[in-house]
């Protein structure tokens, strides 16, 4: 899933400082699963903003809503009738949400309430880790399901580097060296010789280096 963190309250308060009435809109997709932009978090943000503005003597009317997803135009259409009733709309979805909303309703202002951080999963309650860099050409079959593109600080395809220290990366004692894990797994499975093959240089054009990306599925496209 896409993992995000909520922005500091002061940053969000600054975005809406000239507003009297706003809509905080959450998303039932990834941000609900990572407890950042679902129903609960929408309520918490709305209440926090109202408290801050009450203290400032400039009360803010905040309505709350959670859309099925903000990355599908059909769900965004639900707010069509009411979207212009507000001075601004604060989206708690990943970075896709406010952009889809902004494209659908050019007359309204949309502000992001979260920082979209990475593609990952929950390794335990309350802790999420990056697992995928979305590079567009998956290479984890070379590494038995472990991705050095996302999980090696240098994205080395032929590692480890000299910064691997007792299973940790030199950048932080909290970051595992994924190459340490890859090598250990190969040893455990008796396939260390796999690593004698040099993985060819990766074509990064499928990643962001090729510019904004688009996926087209002819069999799903309707109306031409």
């Amino acid at each position: 899933m896409i993992v995000a963190d909520r922005k500091p309250l002061n940053e969000i308060l600054d975005m809406v400082k000239r507003c009297n009435r706003i809509l905080v809109v959450g998303c039932k997709g990834c941000v609900t699963v990572c407890n950042v932009g679902g129903l609960k978090e929408v309520q918490i943000l709305a209440t926090s903003l109202k408290i801050a503005r009450k203290i400032g003597g400039f009360p803010l009317v905040v309505d709350e809503m959670v859309l099925e997803r903000q990355c599908d135009t059909e769900y965004i259409a639900i707010i069509k009738e009411t979207v212009t009733d507000y001075d601004a709309v604060v989206s708690m979805a990943c970075g896709v949400g406010p952009q889809f909303l902004s494209e659908a309703y050019p007359e309204q202002k949309f502000y992001p309430a979260v920082n979209t951080t990475f593609f990952g999963g929950a390794v335990s309650h309350g802790i999420w880790e990056e697992r995928c860099a979305g590079c567009g050409t998956c290479v984890i079959h070379y590494f038995d399901g472990l991705c050095p593109v996302a999980r090696c600080s240098k994205s080395l395809l032929n590692g480890p580097c000299g910064g691997s220290d007792h299973g940790k990366c030199e950048i932080s004692r909290e970051v595992d060296c994924i190459w340490d894990k890859i090598v250990r797994k190969k040893v455990e499975q008796g396939r260390l010789d796999d690593l004698l093959d040099v993985v060819p240089a990766k074509n990064w054009q499928s990643a962001r280096d090729g510019g904004p990306r688009r996926s087209r599925r002819e069999e799903l496209i309707q109306n031409g």
Partner: protein, 140 residues
């Protein structure tokens, strides 16, 4: 005649410990401030961040959660979860410029009637010293 400030405190009390302790305090004829409004919950694990924030938003001067002693929760870890939520709300209040001491977590057992009264007195004193909630001041 000067007006005496009487704060409003909301106490979320677990039915297995703090609420029973409040009952015991009553049976023991112990007095505690009437400023404290008690809300019984089936476990403090039921108390969410939004409940605490809503109390603050609606002009409570102080809010506290009173659950079982750590390790004695009827639902294993409800009181531990509540403590983390209280910590979260403290951080949020700090971000909002409100004294984090207005929110607190306490642990006690159903046999601790005097402790329940003591907590109510201490929290009321603490909030009296802090003065009215800034939210309340903004309301006026």
């Amino acid at each position: 005649m000067s007006e005496v400030y009487e704060p409003t405190l909301i106490a979320f009390c677990c039915k297995y410990c703090a609420y029973a302790a409040a009952d015991l305090a009553g049976s023991m004829r112990l007095s505690y401030p009437s400023n404290v409004k008690i809300t019984q919950v089936p476990c403090t694990g039921r108390v969410d961040i939004i409940h605490l924030l809503k109390a603050i938003e609606n002009s409570a001067d102080g809010v506290y959660v009173a659950g079982c002693m750590e390790g004695d929760c009827h639902f294993v870890s409800g009181n531990l979860k509540a403590r983390k939520r209280v910590e979260y709300v403290k951080k949020t209040l700090t971000e909002l410029g409100i004294e984090p001491e207005r929110v607190e977590m306490f642990n006690l057992s159903s046999a601790m009637g005097p402790r329940f009264a003591e907590i109510a007195i201490d929290m009321t004193d603490r909030i009296k010293k802090l003065g009215p909630s800034p939210v309340k001041r903004g309301d006026t």
